[in-house]
Amino acid sequence: MTETRKGQLLIAPALLIMAIFTLYPLADGIRTAFTDQHLLKETMKYVGWANFQRIFADEIFWVSLYHSVILTVSVVLLQLVLGLVLAWAMKQKLPGIRLFKSIIMASWVIPVAATVIMFKFMAQPDIGLINILFKLTGLKGLNRYWFGDMHAALPFIILLHLWRNVPFYGVAFLAAMQAIPASYYEAAEIDGARAWGRFIHITLPGIRGMIIVMVTIHVLWTFNNFDFVYLATGGGPVNATDVLPVYVYRQCWDSYTIGYGAAIGTVMFVMLMIYFIIYIRIYEKRAGAR
């Protein structure tokens, strides 16, 4: 057996599993989008573009899309900025920072369901820590269930994302920063570059690769994220926090209209694919220009 054949054999199981349980479901999901399939009905038929026409007129779809975009953009941007701030702080050689670094990523490893419960409890009126703290600082009028508030619910979902991911960003950026040769900074210091200048001209370019990977993957993960919204609010109050993944889930598993749910899922997929293609184009152009 040739070396190449052996290599193929090693990869085969992984590719096979992904083909059967990821690629096939994707293709079949897109096929389902063109049917009127219902979870409780035996028969189904192809309905052409009818589901997509329905999407176009579906107000909740547009609201969910709007929330999905707002959520993804603000979450990823805030994570990027706060992650950089955190990485900068952890880069300082100060007593206690090592211990801090070792515990700070804990929020990333615990189940989302647990995170949501912690915050739902803290957001309870009267007995939740957030409202207790408001009361202690004289802001008693703010006492409310924060996930049940039309205007506060979506910002609180953003907060949940930040709570989970900012430490991950911080530690990842720190790892990339530490890979930058110290001589770069020494040279800049001789040239009299200020801290801000060093950050812009050395640190940021130095961790560019890491920033690109973190942002790309988190755009995909955040846009596709289901459990934060579903577990915290289910999309409510009214539709104040509805996002596309949760809307798809409800269409499929609460209303059993899996044809329509699949159509919305297909639209999500197409949007992410466009994002991905644009990203690769820009990335290749940059790589070519260098």
């Binding site: 070396e3 052996k6 290599g7 193929q8 090693l10 990869i11 992984a14 590719l15 599993i17 992904m18 096939y24 479901p25 079949d28 999901g29 389902t32 300082q92 100060l94 206690g96 801090f100 515990i103 990523m105 804990a106 929020s107 490893v109 615990i110 189940p111 369901a113 647990a114 419960i117 912690m118 409890f121 803290m122 007995i127 820590l129 207790i132 009361k135 709570w163 430490p167 991950f168 530690v171 990842a172 720190l174 801290a195 690769g209 990977v213 973190m214 596709n224 289901f226 459990d227 579903y230 596309l244 993944p245 798809v248 889930y249 499929c252 699949a262 899922g265 999500m268 997929f269 992410l272």
Partner: protein, 281 residues
């Protein structure tokens, strides 16, 4: 000179401020839920931060562990996460090693394909997956749920391990080959020991994803036979009259295994997770 020492002082103050705010925001919620889990329902409802000592209790844990079905779900979660970790590790180690060490046609396309699965909406995949699992008679089976989780972790795991293997010098393989080792021997006896930290992180990743999953379990699990801790804490926290002390105790028990494992891999976690990202430099 005095300006640098002054700016150093400002940096230190700023850094500690960030550290303090971070501890408050990222760590306090966890401590608060632990604190709550030892309080009585009545005590929680007083809204006091520091109740008198007699209002603390172990009752919540006793109830969760002996009255409710929580231990059973906990055991389900352990079984599923262990199976997922073991199976995905074997498959992804082989796959990543193949991608890292062999010149194959269409390799870049394969890597791109594996990475691009991250953009597939899980809520879309789960529809055909449900029907597939149903037809395979794996609905409400540990294997059915595990299968769903393996698909969740496999692409990222292969990508990450490939990056990790890429950082291990080829000379190691080559000298072993000259000594007459075949591919499996090389992988098992030469590469794996060196890659152990990366493997540990990969194992940790799949355990945590499986343990924390809600989406797939909520659809493939149909009964107590396969229900996991995430389903249960969601149900407990959604009841009409929420017993917050018990919810807190169940939540703490759900968090404990992940934090315990985290303490073992903590210092290698990011290095392992981002191996795929760093090596391209």
């Amino acid at each position: 000179m005095s300006t640098t020492s002054k700016s150093k002082k400002i940096s230190a103050v700023l850094a500690y401020l960030i550290v303090f705010l971070s501890l408050f925001f990222f760590i306090l919620p966890m401590l608060w839920i632990i604190y709550t889990s030892f309080r009585t329902q009545a005590s929680i409802f007083t809204g006091k931060v520091f109740p008198p000592p007699e209002e603390f209790t172990l009752e919540n844990y006793q109830t969760i562990l002996s009255v409710t079905e929580f231990p059973r779900y906990f055991f389900n979660s352990i079984r599923i996460a262990a199976l997922v970790t073991l199976a995905s590790l074997v498959v992804s180690i082989f796959g990543a090693y193949g991608l890292s060490r062999f010149e194959l046609r269409g390799k870049n396309l394969m890597i791109m394909g594996i990475f691009s699965t991250q953009m597939f909406p899980q809520v879309l995949l789960i529809i055909p997956l449900y029907l597939l699992v149903f037809r395979l008679l794996l609905l409400d089976r540990v294997i059915g749920v595990s299968l769903g989780h393996i698909i969740l972790v496999l692409p990222f795991q292969v990508w990450m391990l490939k990056g990790y293997f890429d950082n291990i010098p080829l000379d190691l393989d080559n000298s072993a080959r000259i000594d007459g080792c075949n591919i499996l021997q090389r992988l098992l006896h030469v590469v794996l020991p060196v890659a152990a930290p990366g493997i540990m992180v990969a194992a940790f990743f799949s355990f945590v994803v499986s343990w924390g999953d809600y989406l797939i379990v909520s659809i493939i699990s149909q009964s107590q036979r396969t229900a996991t801790v995430t389903l249960v804490i969601k149900r407990l926290s959604g009841s009409l009259l929420i017993r917050w002390g018990q919810v807190a105790a169940a939540t703490v028990l759900t968090i404990v295994p992940t934090i315990a494992l985290f303490s073992f891999v903590q210092h290698r976690l990011v290095e392992g997770l981002t191996a795929g990202a760093i090596k391209e430099e």
